[in-house]
Amino acid sequence: MAAESGKIDPMHQFEVQTIWDGFNIAGHQIAFTNSALWMCIAALVLWAFMLGGMKRAVVPGRWQMLVENFTGFIDSMLAQNIGKEGRAYLPYIFSLFMFILFANVLGLLPLGLVGIHPFTFTSHFTVTGVLAILSFSIVLIVGFWKHGLKFFSLFVPHGTPLWLIWLIPAIEFVSFMVRPFSLGLRLFVAMIAGHILLKVLAGFVINAGNAGIIPGLGVGIPSFALMVGISALEILVAGIQAYVFALLTSLYINDAEHLH
């Protein structure tokens, strides 16, 4: 990419390209894009991963141990943060965590070597925003279902002094309403920042290699070493961001379950 011009275009990897034109509904083109394709791939890989581990053998093999480790991890997180009511949310939080994790890791795979360009769909706010709205609406539905209008007491924490009763609900309301934005924004920006960093460093390596042997050794090799390190960091970030998304969702659901 852009080897001759020497100009790095780190945003090109985030372009949504149409694969199949799809159909037209009321003036809107519903197309099948590379984003949708990679969502399907992530779902398929996740399905295959779970299928291999759900054999329910009495003596579990390695694969089943791996899957059971994941479910146990999410289950203990919910038990810790929500309590025994948390079991009801296990399917949602588990699917959310695994889908985001698989999406992040699939986007990092070096498939470009064989000519397939992975598309990290979690690097788009439309995708993470929808996931965040999903979590937020579960909080609203559960809260109003269980507590009715008492749910609004969420905005007045216990022990609020009477003379602050005009201020605290306003602050709590803002912090409540900003949750879906911060939830979606965090995942999307963390993914986009890491991918831009990797592409910029890759541009350094290519341009330094083209500039001759001295810049190639002096700039290219250190940049490449840095890329290896950053790639390892990105795998860590992919896991942490999926975990943080699931953790914060479970905390918000805890608020809806128990008020505070």
Binding site: M11, M77, Q80, N81, S182, L185, R186, V189, A190, I192, A193, I240, Y243, V244, L247, L248, L251
Partner: protein, 75 residues
């Protein structure tokens, strides 16, 4: 100063915010490690709180990054 230069200077200034978030994240993990080494038995139970603190500190750095990206590509 023309508008294009001002945008790029603003984007560069937003990097200060990213550096500040780095201090914040380092503080979160450093303090956790300090406490965890004093009482390793209690460390595992606090991992959830560790990541909540990490997420809150990190978000502000990511917001600084968003400001820089908006200045370069959108504004």
């Amino acid at each position: 100063m023309d508008a294009e230069a001002a945008k790029l200077i603003g984007a560069g200034l937003a990097a200060i915010g990213a550096g500040m978030a780095a201090i914040g994240v380092g503080n979160v993990f450093g303090s956790f490690l300090e406490g965890a080494l004093r009482n390793p038995g209690a460390a595992d139970g606090q991992q959830g709180r560790l990541f909540i603190g990490f997420a809150a500190a990190e978000l502000l750095g990511l917001l600084a990054f968003v400001v820089a990206m908006i200045l370069i590509f959108v504004a």
